[in-house]
């Protein structure tokens, strides 16, 4: 006990500088806790309670609501299985995951949906348990990994099939949290390979390719995403060819195109940093083995480059996920837009924007923090950041 007090005194009040910092930190903490408590005591959550469905799936018509559940089941199975297969989570991690899922379920389950939610929870637990039974045998492990990777690649097509099959709701009706996640998945799914291509192009020795790639990356990065989205809505149709009705493609598809282009530019920059960090000896050795450009890139350079920049990449992806909230400018009702308009629904909700935005912020925060924790785990396992 004595040692603890001694340590405490040393750390917090050891020098004048330390003391000042400790006092400042305490003041800041006190101030924040005070205002949060004040907010909680004067808040009315009815505006969120009534609009839970709107927040999660936007304007999707009630008759098509059933489509959302299979998507949730597939996604939860995939995520839990992947966590177990590649994650080797400790009990603490599992506790946090369980806590997060419970909080979200408690906030968003209405009396009509609790059966569905219960099924999803059961599938989560079930998938986790099943995966842990695979055991130590390598062939079973590899098979499992292959199946999971295949499922991840097929996830987007599966989601689209479920949503569109049998005269499903038009994409402009998808909204809320669902829309943000779908847009983020597509933006990352298409933007990442494209970004790799542009990064390689920019690092190429052929001046023509290099200049064109550089112009593309710098142009896209130069303007804010809001401006590009507005451009996509009004300007893009005038530039698309008239035949096959391409120029009347839905706004959601146009948003996906622009978001993918934007992600590819940012990813290209990050990967370029990774490419620059590879020792020249690797490339020289590959050349001396006569590997050819394609093989050299795919087998030697890219795996190392991407490994090095995975934290920065995941940080970019988190940014893309949050930027999908900018599609409100295209008249799409995404999660943030819902949060901003629900206080106007009914005169009794006037002025309750803080509550609505709190919930929106919480949803964004949960996904972002999971991704950033993932990146930390990857960082640790790759051994980056140990001095």
């Amino acid at each position: 006990m004595q040692n603890f007090y001694k340590w405490g005194f040393e750390t917090f009040f050891g020098s004048v500088f330390n003391t000042i910092i400790t006092l400042l930190s305490l003041i800041i903490l006190f101030f924040f806790i005070n205002s949060i408590l004040g907010f909680i005591s004067t808040s009315e959550w009815k505006v969120v309670e009534v609009n839970r469905r709107l927040l999660l799936i936007g304007r999707m018509p009630p008759e098509h609501e059933y489509r959302v559940w299979p998507i949730l089941w597939v996604a939860s199975y995939l995520i839990m299985a992947s966590i177990k297969t590649w994650g080797s989570p400790s009990y603490r991690d599992l506790l946090f995951i369980a806590l997060g899922i419970t909080i979200v379920c408690v906030i968003f389950t209405t009396s009509s949906t609790y059966l569905w939610v219960l099924t999803s929870l059961l599938i989560c637990i079930f998938s986790y348990v099943i995966t842990s039974f695979i055991g130590k045998s390598t062939t079973a492990n590899n098979k499992n990994k292959k199946i999971l990777i295949l499922l991840w690649i097929l996830l987007l097509p599966i989601i689209f099939t479920i949503l569109l099959i049998g005269d499903g709701p038009k994409p402009t009706l998808w909204g809320g949290f669902l829309l943000n996640i779908i847009l983020a998945c597509i933006a990352i799914g298409f933007g990442f390979p494209l970004g790799i291509l542009f990064a390689i192009g920019r690092a190429s020795t052929l001046p023509a390719i290099k200049i064109v790639c550089t112009i593309y990356i710098e142009t896209i990065r130069g303007a804010p995403l809001v401006a590009w989205l507005l451009l996509a809505w009004f300007v893009l149709p005038k530039f698309l060819p008239q035949f096959w009705g391409i120029n009347e493609v839905s706004v959601v598809v146009r948003a996906m195109i622009i978001l993918s282009a934007f992600t590819s530019a940012y990813t290209a920059e990050v990967i370029r940093g990774g490419l620059q960090s590879i020792p020249k000896g690797q490339i020289e050795a590959a050349d001396s083995l006569n590997l050819g450009y394609a093989n050299k890139m795919v087998l030697i350079v890219l795996p190392q480059a991407i490994r090095v920049v995975i934290p920065a990449l995941i940080s970019t992806f988190i940014g893309v996920f949050k930027d999908t909230s900018l599609v409100f400018i295209l008249a799409l009702t995404d999660l943030l837009q819902v949060g901003r308009i629900i206080p106007e629904q009914d005169p009794e909700f006037f002025g309750r924007q803080l509550e609505a935005l709190c919930v929106v912020a919480f949803l964004f925060w949960i996904i972002s923090i999971s991704l950033s924790n993932l990146s930390k785990k990857v960082e640790k396992s790759l051994g980056i950041g140990i001095r």
Binding site: I21, L206, A208, E218, P224, V226, P311, L357, F364, W365
Partner: protein, 398 residues
């Protein structure tokens, strides 16, 4: 026949030749694509002619420029650009300072401090910026109302309409600009002088002494600068005067503020939101850079008796700078572009002004291209400046 084909075959094996062909094909496709775009673009109406007509709307923040609603739309747009630049410069400086402090704090031994830094990064980085802007606006609105404004003996006025600080205003005797010019020249001259004197001391060991008190180049430069500035100030008959803010009510009871430098809640809200948000990213960058340095550096520094502060500023940060600058440039560009979200809380920067113009005039396309060009130029300027810094910092060492 055979020999020609053989020659071609040999040629095809040559890397240079193949490169040329690949580039040729690539350029053809790109050229077709660009031509298609341009031919379509020429069919659209992209004139900015309507920009010369009267703007007809007011702008609440006019910094340096004197804008009234009778001016042309070009001037309105220019006011917006000035507002954006003003916010970006202040934001970049503050965000860097905050990010560096928090980045170092993250690695501090004071657990309270490093936890605050950790919480700061985790909470603010993962929340969308729009929500943070609205939150800060609400915070700033909690300042006292104008009828109960806090004043400190006529020098500072604090209310929820803004914080007014003393400022300098020109006394209209015509020498204002001349004095500014002299100041700029004095800055450059004293910088060169101090640089030269420092170099002379480093290389030749010659030191300037005044009564056994060593004067370094920095001090000499500062002295020279202040001397020139004050002498010219008085010679030119005090071209600038202190402008004290004042709060008063006109005869109808409206509270009016005048004078001084106004720090409005809108500017404050968007500034704080941007600084805090970008600061989280800079924190992570700084932390990553410091952690990537070999531990031996810190140990050696402590071993020769440098204090923690000296280790950080003299040894660690200068080396960390090498890997900080490229991602830092990225964050500065992000800050510049994120400033376009300020329409939410009535800060009239260029994106908001251009949307008002778009709506009033109805021609959206030319305004888009104008916005694109403006943001591209801003990004270019920042990139170039940071590139110069980057080259300076990475010029030594592997």
């Amino acid at each position: 026949m055979n020999s020609i084909v053989d020659k071609l075959y040999v040629l095809s094996r040559s890397q240079k030749f193949r490169n040329l062909i690949i580039q040729f094909i690539f350029l053809i496709f790109v050229g077709l694509f660009v031509y298609y775009l341009i031919s379509k673009a020429l069919q659209l109406d992209i004139t900015l002619g309507h920009f010369v007509s009267r703007a007809g709307f007011g702008i609440s923040h006019t910094f340096v420029v004197d804008y009234t609603s009778n001016d042309s739309r070009w001037f309105a747009y220019f006011t917006g650009v000035v507002n954006t630049i003003r916010m970006c410069i202040v934001g970049i400086i503050l965000a860097t300072i905050l990010g560096t402090i928090m980045g170092v704090a993250r690695l501090s031994k004071n657990i309270l401090f490093s936890t605050i830094s950790y919480l700061y990064v985790e909470i603010l980085r993962n929340t969308p910026l729009l929500i943070q802007i609205i939150f800060w606006q609400i915070v700033f609105l909690q300042l006292p109302r104008i009828s109960e404004a806090i004043t400190f003996k006529d020098t500072v006025v604090i209310s929820n309409r803004g914080i007014l600080l003393p400022y300098a205003s020109s006394t209209e005797n015509g020498y204002g600009n001349l004095w500014i010019g002299i100041i700029l020249i004095a800055i450059i001259a004293s910088l060169f002088l101090s640089f030269y004197i420092n170099k002379r001391e480093d290389i030749h060991g010659k030191v300037i002494k005044l009564y056994n008190f060593k004067l370094s180049g920095n001090i000499i430069g500062l002295i020279i600068f202040f001397t020139i500035a004050s002498i010219s100030f008085f010679i030119l008959q005090k071209p600038y005067d202190i402008d004290l803010p004042s709060l008063y009510q006109n005869d109808k009871g409206t509270y009016l503020q005048s004078g001084g430098f106004e720090f409005t809640p809108e500017f404050g809200a968007i500034l704080f939101a941007l600084v805090m948000y970008t600061g989280t990213f800079i924190t992570e960058i700084v932390r990553g850079s410091i952690q990537s340095l070999p531990k031996g550096q810190t140990e050696a520094a402590l071993a020769i008796g440098l204090s923690n502060y000296q280790t950080m500023t003299l040894i660690i940060l200068p080396q960390a700078l090498r890997s900080i600058i490229p991602p830092l440039t990225n964050q500065y560009l992000n800050l510049t572009k994120n400033s376009s979200l300020s329409v939410v809380i009535a800060y009239p920067e260029l994106f908001m002004v251009s949307r008002t113009i778009m709506n009033n005039s109805g021609h959206a396309l030319p305004v888009f291209f104008l916005i694109l060009v403006t943001y591209l130029s801003l990004s270019l300027v920042i990139s170039i400046v940071m590139n110069i810094l980057n080259r300076r910092v990475t010029r030594i060492g592997a």
